[in-house]
Symmetry: C2
Subunit: 262 residues, 2 copies
Amino acid sequence: MLELGGETLILTHDAMLAGTHFLPDQDPADLAWKLVATNLSDLAAKGAEPLGVLLGYQLGPDDARFAEGLAAVLAHYQVPLLGGDTVAGTGPQALGLTALGRATHRPVPGRDGVRAGDALWLTGPVGGAMLGLEALKGAPGDPLPYTRPVALLAEGRALAPQATAMMDVSDGLLLDALRMARASGVTLAIDGAAVPLACPPERRAEALRWGEDYQLLFTLPAGATAPVPAHCIGTAMPAGSAPLLLDDEPLGEASHLGYLHG
Amino acid sequence: MLELGGETLILTHDAMLAGTHFLPDQDPADLAWKLVATNLSDLAAKGAEPLGVLLGYQLGPDDARFAEGLAAVLAHYQVPLLGGDTVAGTGPQALGLTALGRATHRPVPGRDGVRAGDALWLTGPVGGAMLGLEALKGAPGDPLPYTRPVALLAEGRALAPQATAMMDVSDGLLLDALRMARASGVTLAIDGAAVPLACPPERRAEALRWGEDYQLLFTLPAGATAPVPAHCIGTAMPAGSAPLLLDDEPLGEASHLGYLHG
């Protein structure tokens, strides 16, 4: 974040590597989409309005197809490409994107603002990206939730004035909730059955740990109703022995809660 | 460039790959320095004051050493690290940096503002980075001009109000001058003997084509004197049959004028 000329700028940068963050044979148009949408999701979680993006692009297997996807996602979100750099290399394709936005509400919601007594909310289901990746690998189903995630920009802007804390769920609901709890110095108690799922209920435990659904996780004062469609999935309590409870069971070990990006 | 809150933001992004843009065994501290300094040089050429950088970092052979160099260059230029992303991968190390600055003078100088009659100026010698790379590979000499380039931020700010056009020389003096001539719709006539050299005079032809010295190339109205140390190396004329003349010889073929980044 950066204060400039009376505005608050929000900046985010994500890097993606072939073989690590995407399948080497994935449709380059989908990569472009995901690279932009995931950065815009970071802006959404701050209630920011996107101003533009800069792209670091290593030439890959189908640059024209990447350009198509890039044009599509930028047009979809009405975001300009402000600059970037194109390089040629021999290794796995490396992509980087910087997104720039302006805060629409100040203070900008962070992950550290939860107060004991707040209710914990989630904008929509998790588990869709998990099934999407399986579909991409050949299972029946729709790969779109994995290949073309949605940045909840309008939702983030509507929530920013009311949320005491907000973040997007990129690495898994439990892991990201743990981070929010630690940053805020509270214990978050999640009611597992209240978490909406985009997968069969028998896969709930996995879905709570799988990331890339890019829902917004936020807290509101007790009794407040969310200004956008959302599900109340838990409550914040004064910090206890564990920062995170799932159905009253303490969950403290980050390595089993979600995806730690390498 | 982006207008925001009464300010003009300048944004630049460079990507670097091991084996393509740097030697795989180069000191990681030098890589950090160069990645930041070259992006700040882009800001210098716009007369901008840096506000911060975002780093896309792929873990490499010595991350602690990279962090040392990053801290050093950010402290040297008093620029904050605003964010970024760290990833692990198996291929050649990929690095990306976004730099953000605010214009100190508007209109922001571009490469398209040269008018016939303007004088062409260069802030300092070329050829130093060429010798620096040779030194890095074992020849006698000082690698610093190659490993630790200088971003001429103060010079750029002093020049911005007076220069009709400005850019930094990253890809070779002749190639960058050609780009300036084409963008401005003029012919630039360079007096080869007037170009200051950081190498023996018998290597002048190479030095004019070698990049990475990050001098500022700019034009001033005829008769004006530069507000910073600089050398007048040519003049702008109405567009002729060739956009670039070196010692009255037309030079039109980009591929022989400098370094085209892959």
